[in-house]
């Protein structure tokens, strides 16, 4: 029974996402991107202050980058103005997280990325409220 239920739930979870994004789905993507941007902001801030290891910064930023890339790819077919703006911000967050994962011990770059990610998080948050 558990196995059947598991397959059913996994199937349901795997469905959808192929057609045009609904407002609810768009709002969910915005929440995810905001979350990733702010998590990147904390990570970059700690790295810039020498409070993290370069390995943790690189690996965790890479996880965040992969998730941001996956969310951003859902916005490729964006049609509305808000969706296009969100897609643009998503690309920016993805690029910043990718740079953070490669930033090594460059504290200047980490500081710049922290500001950019914090800014992106705030903008996405405002945009998300309008969706």
């Amino acid at each position: 029974l558990v196995g059947i239920a598991l397959l059913a739930a996994l199937g349901i979870a795997g469905c959808g996402g192929q057609s045009r994004l609904s407002n609810k789905a768009l709002s969910q993507v915005a929440k995810t991107l905001q979350s990733l941007a702010y998590e990147g902001d904390i990570l970059a801030d700690d790295a810039a202050q020498g409070r993290s290891t370069s390995v943790f910064t690189a690996v965790h930023a890479r996880f965040l980058w992969e998730a941001a890339r996956s969310s951003s790819s859902m916005l490729k077919q964006a049609e509305t103005v808000e969706a296009k703006r969100l897609a643009q911000l998503g690309v920016g967050v993805t690029d910043d997280l990718e740079r953070l994962s490669r930033s090594g011990s460059d504290r200047g770059q980490q500081r710049r990325l922290q500001r950019a990610l914090a800014q992106a998080g705030a903008t996405i948050s405002k945009l998300g409220k309008r969706l």
């Binding site: 029974l1 558990v2 196995g3 239920a5 598991l6 739930a9 996994l10 349901i12 979870a13 969910q28 929440k31 995810t32 905001q34 979350s35 702010y38 998590e39 902001d41 904390i42 990570l43 801030d45 700690d46 020498g50 409070r51 993290s52 290891t53 390995v55 943790f56 690189a58 690996v59 965790h60 996880f63 965040l64 998730a67 998080g121 948050s125």
Partner: protein
């Protein structure tokens, strides 16, 4: 003095062994989503695992019967087989999630490739399980898992509003989606009441040859060990509530709790958190594989026991090795361990009633327990928790689907 030391060691290893990947994921997500509002649910869950662990430890000590032996006897072959299949699926999913957690923790520490670290992690836990005696495994993972106490220090360091924290221990109204709130309630209760902990605890008690003289140790270890272990859950939730909720961060990664410890305490906080996570999930991986093997062996009447040499209990030894290999296959195929954890915790809730009912029945049966049968308090709590377990078992999967895994 010797007994005091034994109790102290048992408590320490119970604290370190309390938190697994399910607790890490659900407590952090719950704090990031609802702040302190779900702290009281952790208390409810911990009291439940204390009640049933004490009961199954007492049954093991007096009747010398582990849980799955009783499942087959009390619910019959058909329902027993259903419970075995359900618990085996859940054990395997949990073991796979823990193995994935080991690889992620190693990756966050070393930067080496994930798939290589999955192989290394599985090889490591298999070798440790094969070579080390039971007590050493328990102590190694329990004691090093105490590094997780760094989360308690971090939770204090981020200066939460203690009035609000105290308010979180009072069940009451909440803000946000009702369904998502219920989903996290079920998840937190499921993470606290995991069946594999009960199977492992009772089989370990039988293996250790517990008798009525050990009932005091059983009671103290259950109450104090799990009780103090709950502080780690509180700490994870408080830390997430302070750091992640205001920014709208929805934790999706095993590294996110470690990021919280890092933000509060710097590099030392990060390293202690990662080592604690590594040993907590590594220990849980071993517990789940052994639980699966215990269940199979006890149900089919095979020779079983970690104390037995593999040649003395070959099917038991083969079972836990096969469980590790299947878990390895699942994680290598690319399933996200955090998502796997969410599913395994929710599905474990469905298997809870058939695990806990036989314990309750036998612990209250004078034919098995004589004068050690349940007292009034144990019965009242046991029945109340069983009713709660039935309610969450019925609602777990609908909530998983309706809330899209807690995302609303």
């Amino acid at each position: 003095m010797r007994q005091f030391l034994q109790i102290a060691l048992g408590i320490l290893s119970a604290i370190g062994g309390f938190v697994d990947i399910g607790d890490l994921v659900f407590n952090t997500q719950a704090g990031a989503t609802f702040g302190f509002q779900l702290l009281w649910v952790v208390v409810v869950g911990v009291v439940g695992i204390i009640v049933y662990s004490e009961m199954c430890g007492r049954v093991a000590a007096v009747a010398k019967r582990p849980v799955f032996d009783l499942v087959r006897e009390r619910v019959g072959f058909g329902a027993g087989l259903g419970t075995l299949i359900a618990s085996s699926v859940v054990n395997l999913m949990t073991c796979a999630a823990e193995v994935g957690g080991v690889a992620i923790a190693l990756q966050l520490l070393s930067g080496l490739p994930y798939r290589f670290l999955i192989l290394l992690g599985v090889l490591g836990v298999v070798l440790i399980s094969w070579a080390l005696p039971f007590e050493w495994i328990e102590r190694l993972f329990g004691y090093v898992g105490l590094c997780l106490l760094v989360f308690a220090v971090a939770a204090v360091k981020v200066h939460p509003d203690w009035g609000q924290v105290a308010h979180g221990f009072v069940p009451g109204m909440h803000t946000g989606s009702h369904l998502v709130f219920l989903y996290f309630m079920v998840g937190l209760l499921g993470a606290a009441l995991t069946p594999y902990e009960v199977y492992f605890y009772s089989s370990g008690a039988v293996e250790d040859g517990w008798g009525p003289k050990d009932l005091r140790i059983n009671k103290i270890t259950s109450v104090v060990g799990y009780g103090l272990g709950a502080f780690l859950s509180f700490a994870l939730m408080i830390l997430a509530a302070v750091l992640f909720l205001p920014r709208g961060i929805s934790p999706q990664f095993l590294g996110t709790p470690a990021l919280g410890a890092q933000d509060a305490l710097g590099k030392i906080g990060l390293l202690l958190a990662l080592v604690g996570i590594l040993f907590a999930v590594g220990g849980a991986a071993i517990e789940t594989s052994f639980s699966g093997a215990y269940n199979l062996a006890q149900f089919f009447g095979w020779q079983w026991g970690k104390r037995e040499r593999p040649s003395g209990a070959p099917r038991f030894a083969l079972s836990w090795i096969v469980i590790f290999l299947l878990a390895l296959g699942i994680v290598m195929s690319g399933y996200d361990p955090v998502k796997l954890t969410e599913y395994s915790v929710i599905f474990s809730v469905v298997a809870l009633p058939l695990t806990f009912l036989p314990i309750l029945l036998v612990a209250n049966d004078p034919a098995y327990m004589g004068r050690y049968r349940n007292g009034r308090l144990s019965n009242v709590l046991g029945v109340a928790y069983f009713a709660l377990i039935l309610a969450i078992a019925a609602s777990a999967i609908p909530l998983l689907v309706l809330t899209n895994g807690g995302q609303g």
